[in-house]
């Protein structure tokens, strides 16, 4: 409970700072919406094409927008050596890491919620036919990006080329989760419900999230100290 309480303090701090500057959200939301518009004009998809490629396009855009969010996750602690003050406090490394995850997760969800209506408007599709399944898919896939994005944001925070390194490291690691997310979102964009034969993709997402969350929390101390 103490870890969770400390994590929420860090989450609130990050969200408050972000809502004051809006530097990450403005960049990620405008990127997401403008790329959706560009794809829409470039492809001018028919309903059949939307059903075929819409899920992949949508999740790729969320993934790229997520990179913008997680580039700032630990970089936010660089001015004034704030990360030192956090690590020297009684907050455990796991609490600091989890707090950063929650903040990044919230920001990614905001980007997704604001981008979805634009997708429906310009691509059509029946993505809102199964809102419950869409929510579960987006929550699980977003957490996959969150856990990897936060881990590598912490690992690359002191690198001069961290903005370049983050996607190079994160995208290959996310392959299994992204394949599952593409598959599930493609079905949902086509208006198909996720049936029992497709539950394995949800299991892949859930398993990915569980394994890498446990791993990241166990290694948080090694990542943050030194």
């Amino acid at each position: 409970m103490k870890t969770l309480r400390q994590a929420l303090v860090i989450t609130r701090k990050d969200l408050r700072a972000e809502l004051r500057t809006k530097e990450t959200l403005n960049a990620a939301v405008s990127f997401s919406i403008s790329v959706l518009l560009l794809f829409s004009f470039a492809l001018d998809p028919t309903p059949d094409q939307t059903a075929e490629i819409g899920g992949g396009v949508l999740w790729m855009i969320f993934l790229f927008a997520g990179t913008l969010v997680f580039n700032r996750s630990f970089a936010r602690e660089l001015p004034n050596d704030c990360l030192d003050a956090l690590v020297a406090s009684p907050a455990s490394s796991a609490a600091i890491f989890l707090g950063k995850c929650f903040a990044g997760f919230s920001m990614m969800l905001i980007v997704e919620v604001l981008s979805l209506p634009v997708f429906v408007l310009f691509f059509g599709g029946r993505i809102m036919d199964h809102p419950g399944q869409l929510s579960v898919t987006l929550l699980l896939a977003t957490w996959s990006v969150t856990i990897m994005g936060t881990t590598f944001s912490a690992l690359t925070v002191n690198l001069r080329l961290r903005e370049l390194m983050l996607p190079v490291l994160v995208y290959p690691m996310l392959l299994p989760a992204m394949l599952a997310a593409f598959r599930l979102l493609t079905m949902l964009v086509a208006g198909q419900a996720i049936g029992s034969e497709d539950l394995q993709w949800l299991r892949v997402l859930f398993g990915f999230d569980l394994i890498f969350t446990c791993l990241a929390l166990a290694l948080a101390d090694s990542i943050l100290v030194n």
Binding site: Q6, K13, R16, R20, N80, S89, V225, N226
Partner: protein
């Protein structure tokens, strides 16, 4: 007397370069150690290891009680107000009433009038005072300060000396690295000097050091 800080046989390497070589020192409750040495001697590395921000290659560090840390960076957030910064750190440190404690420390450091102003609007001196408030906020048993007098005007230096003096009188342990020898000697009960990663002197501050703060540097050929 219980040792508040015990540093035993600490080594630290940056690559192959030994930044610290077999450092050992102890500090009891109510002691103030002035950590002296030229730039690059290893003072910051030693303090960072004591604060748990770096791991030593060999040796161990034991700290009894909570740590108040102030490094080269002030460790406060530009996009939060002074009050919000102190409340955040109060909550992380598990302070019983973070809001009341934040208000108290803003008054003590003379920042109560700008409590709601964002830190990005603060001068260097105001930031440093806020950082001091952050470090003392949770009543730490051990205070580790890396060059705390840097960039402070004489009024802020007096305030900091008062806070240090009170902390020492209350039985807290202070270890500070500094190049401001006169201010450090006035507070210190002990003096440690690091030269190229080795501890070349550690002992009580003498009247001679107080009268002539540069004495140790001359003794070890660094004048």
């Amino acid at each position: 007397m219980t040792n508040a800080v015990e540093i035993e046989g600490v080594w630290k390497y940056y690559g192959d370069f030994p930044a610290l070589r077999n450092i050992a020192l102890t500090a009891a409750q109510g002691e103030c150690i002035a950590l002296l040495g030229r730039n690059g001697a290893g003072k910051t590395t030693l303090l960072r290891i004591a604060a748990g921000l770096l791991r030593p290659a060999k040796g161990s560090v034991h700290i009894n009680g909570g740590i108040g840390w102030l490094g080269h960076g002030i460790g406060v957030y530009e996009e939060l107000s002074a009050y919000e910064n102190l409340v955040v750190f109060g909550q992380l440190h598990g302070v019983a009433d973070p809001k009341k404690t934040a208000t108290h420390w803003l008054e003590r450091t003379g920042l109560d009038r700008v409590a709601d102003a964002l830190v990005r609007e603060f001068s260097r001196g105001m930031r440093q005072r806020l950082a001091v408030a952050r470090a003392f906020l949770h009543d730490p048993q051990v205070v580790l300060f890396d060059e705390p007098f840097t960039s402070l005007d004489d009024r802020a230096i007096r305030l900091l000396q008062t806070l240090f003096g009170e902390a020492i009188a209350q039985g807290r342990t202070v270890i500070m690295s500094t190049h401001q020898l006169r201010e450090a000697m006035e507070l210190a009960t002990h003096v440690a000097m690091i030269q190229r990663g080795s501890l070349v002197h550690f002992g009580p501050r003498t009247a001679e050091m107080l009268a002539d703060p540069g004495y140790l540097y001359r003794t070890y050929g660094e004048s």
